[in-house]
Symmetry: C2
Subunit: 491 residues, 2 copies
């Protein structure tokens, strides 16, 4: 891949002067289009140390409206980053629609550097690259225009260039020991980079290798590439269909998990009162074990309105130290969340090591309510299954135990509870127009839930469908399941 960037491209001072003026206008015009579009952009500036990455960024920031851009350089991770999956710190940097982020150092840096210095196995390296491919394809589909630039410079020229800087008393501070460390590893670095670029050179996120020796050629090429990618990306997004915003109907298969549930299961109050504290103590003990093992726990609760999610969650938190857990009730996204890829708002609240996050409704909203109400496009809910699986896999690989509960009640039981809520003053807040609307779509919800279990009940993130017509039974069942599953995971 790099040979094409070793042909000695250069631009004369005069031509540069002339081209730059026009280029700046076009850059700014494109940036304006971006600001008005549904897209954001992430510009990755990669390449060997000393190829002039920082200089390129500084030049860009002079040419474009710097107020629309955030620049991020990779730094030693904070413990808040260390205590979350590797990609968390990059999710943090995703810019909102209309804005640009420039990354000096990206999700490529660690795998390439570690491979170059033989710190990871080939298989881990390859797996990492695969994760990157699906991550980038997701970003692209969510409207993040990825512009991946690789500044390349031949070894001998690089060395010449760095020596020159080093011998300039006013510039030598720009060269660090670290830079030389990379020069020594140039050949290996080049080989590893070429593999990485080749494998991640996808249609949605292609690489652009830029010959970096002549700074004029480098700057012009980088600017032109950015303009081209932005224009194409914005155009593509324009032609995408919008969500229908009217309900879709779905029919569950005649026989499905719900038809097999035994809703008659019951636990009498006396027995419940006896069992609850015993299970709560056991849960408390499993959490302590979990913390000793430096793992964390995510509990997801879904199910129709009035299925008893809140009450069940309170029986769980009743056994936890307040500092160890957070309950997140998923409501409408804020504008900061709406302006970013769908999963951003969930990455945002990921638990740190040793912690528990309980989601009262979750990222599965996309394949339930959003799918049914037509709040998302067909493409969006259809690709959500694999995106969610990828998301949960990253969490699991990091040592997070994920347990997903679906509390299921029958339509008649739901009606009974709705009516009770209407007649009990301090329960009325729980019953809204929306609940009645959803109730009318009960079967569509069942159909979507069935498909959801089918596609997202995975060994590392299983679904547990609990018949919840009897609250006591459901609560005890959920507590038992958590304890059992944690035991399994903490062996």
């Amino acid at each position: 891949m790099f040979e094409t960037a070793e042909v000695g491209n250069s631009i004369s001072k005069e031509k540069y002067k002339k081209d730059v003026t026009a280029l700046r206008e076009e850059l700014l015009e494109t940036q304006k289009q971006l600001a008005l579009s549904k897209c954001s952009t992430i510009i990755i500036i990669g390449g060997v140390e000393g190829a002039g990455k920082t200089e390129t960024v500084n030049q860009l920031l002079e040419w474009i409206d710097a107020r629309g851009v955030e620049t991020h350089a990779l730094d030693k991770p904070s413990d808040e980053e260390i205590e979350r999956p590797y990609m968390w710190k990059f999710w943090r940097l995703i810019p909102p629609k209309g804005r640009m982020a420039i990354l000096l150092g990206s999700w490529y840096t660690q795998p390439i550097v570690q491979k170059t210095f033989k710190e990871i196995k080939e298989s881990d390296f390859q797996e990492h690259l695969e994760e990157i491919v699906s991550f980038e394809s997701m970003l692209a589909k969510e409207g993040v225009i990825l512009i991946k630039l690789w500044l390349h410079i031949k070894k001998d020229l690089l060395i010449k260039r760095m020596k020159k800087l080093e011998n300039d008393p006013l510039q030598n501070w720009r060269i660090s020991k670290n830079d030389w460390k990379f020069v020594k590893k140039y050949d290996k670095f080049r080989e590893v980079s070429e593999t990485a670029l080749g494998k991640t050179n996808t249609k949605e996120a292609p690489w652009f290798v830029v010959e970096a020796e002549d700074f004029r050629y480098r700057n012009i090429t980088v600017a032109k590439t950015i303009i081209g990618r932005l224009k194409d990306g914005i155009e593509e997004k324009k032609n995408e269909s919008a969500p229908p915003l009217k309900p879709r109907k779905f029919e569950p298969p005649l026989n499905n998990i719900f038809t097999t549930l035994d809703y008659s299961k019951k636990i009498e109050e006396k027995e419940y009162e006896k069992k609850l504290p015993i299970l709560q103590k056991k849960l408390y003990q499993s959490v302590q074990k979990m913390q000793k093992k430096d793992k964390s726990l995510i509990l997801v609760f879904e199910g129709p309105d009035a299925a008893g999610k809140g009450g069940t969650i309170r029986r769980i938190t009743g056994a936890l130290n307040a500092k160890d857990y957070r309950v997140i009730s998923v409501a409408a996204p804020t504008d900061e969340e709406k302006a970013r890829p769908y999963l951003w708002r969930f990455w945002r609240h990921l638990p740190r090591k040793d912690k528990i996050t309980i989601y009262d409704r979750s990222w599965y909203g996309r394949v339930l309510v959003e799918k049914i109400e037509g709040f998302c496009t067909d493409d969006e809910w259809k690709r959500a299954y694999s995106e969610i699986a990828q998301f949960e896999k990253e969490l699991f690989d990091f040592g997070i135990i994920i347990l997903k509960f679906y509390l299921s009640i029958t339509p008649s039981e739901q009606l009974k509870r709705f009516k009770e809520r209407q007649t009990t003053p301090y329960k009325q807040y729980k019953i809204t127009e929306e609940d009645w609307r959803n109730r009318a779509r009960f079967r569509s919800y069942e159909a979507c839930a069935v498909e959801m279990f089918e596609k997202t009940s995975l060994p590392f993130a299983p679904w547990f469908v609990i018949p919840a017509n009897d609250k006591n039974f459901a609560r005890i069942e959920v507590l038992k399941t958590i304890i059992k599953e944690m035991k399994k995971n903490l062996k």
Copy 2:
């Protein structure tokens, strides 16, 4: 203060049953009013360990709509918290308008505990309490209803209570060594708490001491107090005047800092080209020194449109490692920011240790553009001076160097630059309707700037007013000043 909570208040089972129903309705109704109001609320549950703080919170979460509440318990600080001023982690928790946060452990915890265990001097303890008073008064004025509850329980009763729990095999996990550590220190803890509560028992944020022995009395009293505080707080806010949303006019004094500036100062291109790299290297070296001393730097840039802020900032960042700095261009706040106290959006982006944050416009917008355009009330911009001073003091005390630059140009020079921008295509983006509107208010801006310097140029956060009609001079002057001031601060 605590005697009143040692009189043996209790409520019978029957009365409790009866009262709770009505109370839940009222709680929910009040919560609904809060959701529709311009207020948010922070409920602090304080008191000795073992007084039943967690139980109270769990009870509350069952009575109110838990989906509108976030509970936060104090935990060992993360390094991202350690590397920022003490209050940063609490700013992070401020809920948006309409929502509740319940704090188990608050900004009172550390000072009270440290004082109890003799880890801080009396004077530091007192200073901390004073900071809390001004912090809380600011929150209150910004629409955060503070509800400070202190659960009190007599020593002998507390010990009885804990022993009882400890002897219950199903409950003993609720009692930790730490709890006993506090019981041993009960008397000292009580004395210190009484001092802290007394000193912070303000009109805007009064304390409510609740006798906690009888859980029924405790729960009822807590709920009633919350209802009362919320109703009053929401009512008060309703009667507050809204921002005028039309421009205010201000006249600068005949003689002021601007009339004393020498705008004729100039640096020729040749000399500039010679000086710039020398100063950039010096700046780079001061930053390294700063990092060795574990300090950080905040640079604030204000000044009329076209004063050259962006260009000056680029000459600074040109001397920095990309990973060491962030440039934050202050634009319109997001809805997450609008929903919180004014300074929240600036706390949000505070630099970590060893880092540099450069603000292209800043929190001073409140006493400049917002004051002039009528975007804030008189009360808001008038109290902003002391709130900002308090804010910058906290940063300074934490070891952040704060330098504030005002680049000043004459109206005629501004006009010249506006016209140039209009005729240079790649500069047109820099000139908008708004710039012309602001230009029409040039004198009002000068007047507000003069008052701003007068009220906020402080020894720990000085203003530097730079005549910027000549860009070269301004850039060199700013670089020189930064280097000089850093040297002073790093002695």
